[in-house]
């Protein structure tokens, strides 16, 4: 909807003040979208793909910037290779490069790590952090809440097309009303004990209580509430 691929039934969306329906040219120029699917045009090379993409955004003679983007994404060696011959990870990098040819202030990453190997994932986040430091706003959509927790400063949670929460990561975690921390204790005889506490400071007292009951501790696992629990709590309340 932000990018104009879908139309809103009602309401409006603006990108840095530009309405995506009424002022779509300005809105789309400010937006770089990395689609989720590995789409590519099999007729062209990497460089041709990026030149064409620049032209769509009204930019000619963009080779200096194209070279720089390819360099940062480790694509330079493949510049003249046909898109068809690239591996999945390389195609993903080209998609990112395509979203950047017109230097958009806002970049939308639609599940960028779905099916991506560890090495590329690390490289990707490093590059995205750099872009963010350079002043780009990054909008990340993901099903992996740990990714959101790790990388995002502000999180919106959606369920069935409705925003159920929109706040900073810290506030979302603070707003969680369940037990603050949990320890799962496995005893030598195989029985399990769940200890629920306000903070880990209470852990010693709780463990002492178990020992008094004659429990011999074999294993212990500590859990803090994470966004997944926040999400389940928020959406569970609705249903």
């Amino acid at each position: 909807m932000i990018a104009g691929l879908a139309r809103a039934d009602r309401g409006s969306v603006t990108v840095l003040g530009a309405d995506v329906a009424l002022d779509y040219r300005r809105a789309r120029r400010m937006l770089g979208v990395v689609p989720q699917e590995l789409v590519f045009d099999p007729f062209f090379t990497v460089r041709e793909t990026l030149r064409i993409q620049s032209g769509y955004f009204g930019i000619r003679g963009n080779d200096a910037w194209i070279d720089e983007v390819m360099h940062h994404l480790d694509l330079s060696a493949k510049a003249d290779a046909n898109m068809r011959s690239l591996s999945g990870g390389m195609k993903r990098r080209v998609l990112i490069a395509q979203a950047l040819v017109h230097k958009p202030p806002v970049i939308v990453l639609d599940e960028p790590t779905a099916g991506v190997d560890v090495e590329l994932r690390q490289g990707l986040w490093q590059f995205v952090r750099r872009l963010n430091r350079d002043g780009h706003t990054i909008v990340l959509t993901t099903h992996y809440l740990e990714e959101a927790e790790l990388h995002c400063s502000r999180i919106a949670m959606l369920k069935a097309g409705r925003i159920v929460a929109l706040d900073s990561t810290r506030n979302l975690l603070a707003g969680f009303s369940g037990p603050r921390t949990t320890a799962r204790v496995v005893a030598r005889d195989g029985t399990q004990h769940m200890l629920q506490m306000e903070s880990y400071a209470e852990l010693e007292r709780e463990l002492a209580r178990l020992r008094v009951q004659g429990v011999e501790i074999a294993d212990i696992e500590l859990e803090r509430p994470d966004l997944e629990q926040v999400f389940l709590q928020l959406t569970g309340r609705d249903s």
Binding site: R28, D41, I52, G58
Partner: protein, 251 residues
């Protein structure tokens, strides 16, 4: 303007990269038609005074390849982009629906004319042709290619699968081009079939195009020109309305 010219250039580059398939192959097909039909029917059929059958056949074959290839270009490009998903790059870019339409149609015209010129160049080798009214020829080639380019775009927008598009191509475009008087004059047909041929828009394009070569035609070229222009305007309006609404492209 850059968006339009880029999309146009991309569409040109697309068919040019596979020109053996998109230009050379259709030229060869037309040559085969010429050799076979020319061989079988030469001397048996005469349509216009003093015009040999093979010479009569050439303009029709040229126009038929112009039309079929203009249709093939926009329709196959769009359906491929839709199926592979790379249409998203065009939809995400600041390109207006009118730029989208004209870029696809212009590239289709270019491919149609390229194939037509190829067919003409090779067939002119076999028969002596002169152009009585080159402007008529150019006008019909151009408008016919634009009409079929727009029809191809329409078919590409509406189709969701390759086989739907193929059905449109095989059951609508191909019969209409074959039955448009490429191989015969419709005056040679019995009354009912002649009347039916008058309802075929392709007939007017072939007939008008042929007028440019021989200065003779089944109907007045001006009538053909008006009908072809009106057909193009109608298909163009429909395409533009569909593109504007985002029909089957945006949800």
């Amino acid at each position: 303007m850059t968006s339009f010219s880029t999309l146009f250039a991309k569409e040109l580059l697309r068919f040019w990269k596979v020109s053996v398939q998109t230009v050379v192959a259709p030229v060869l097909t037309s040559l085969l038609y010429l050799v076979i039909f020319g061989q079988v029917l030469e001397g048996r059929v005469q349509v216009f005074e003093g015009v040999r059958y093979t010479a009569f056949l050439v303009p029709g074959l040229v126009m038929m390849s112009v039309l079929q290839n203009a249709f093939a270009n926009s329709s196959s490009s769009l359906i491929q982009s839709k199926i592979t998903g790379n249409i998203v790059f065009i939809l995400l870019a600041p390109i207006s629906y009118a730029e989208f339409f004209w870029a696809y149609v212009a590239a289709s015209v270019a491919r149609g004319l390229a194939v037509g010129a190829g067919v003409l160049a090779f067939t002119a080798w076999f028969v002596e042709l002169r152009l009585e009214a080159p402007l008529w020829t150019a006008a019909f080639a151009f408008l016919g290619a634009a009409l079929l380019g727009a029809l191809g775009l329409l078919a590409g927008i509406v189709s969701e699968k390759i086989d739907q598009l193929a059905a449109f191509q095989n059951f609508v475009i191909l019969p209409l081009t074959m039955l448009s008087g490429v191989f015969y004059s419709i005056h040679a047909l019995p009354g009912f079939w002649r009347a039916l041929s008058h309802a075929n828009p392709f007939f007017y394009m072939i007939d008008g195009f042929r007028y440019g070569f021989f200065g003779a035609s089944d109907v007045a070229p001006m009538l053909s020109l008006v009908l072809v222009t009106l057909s193009f305007a109608a298909v163009a309006c429909l395409c533009l309305a569909l593109l504007k609404s985002g029909y089957k492209l945006r949800t």
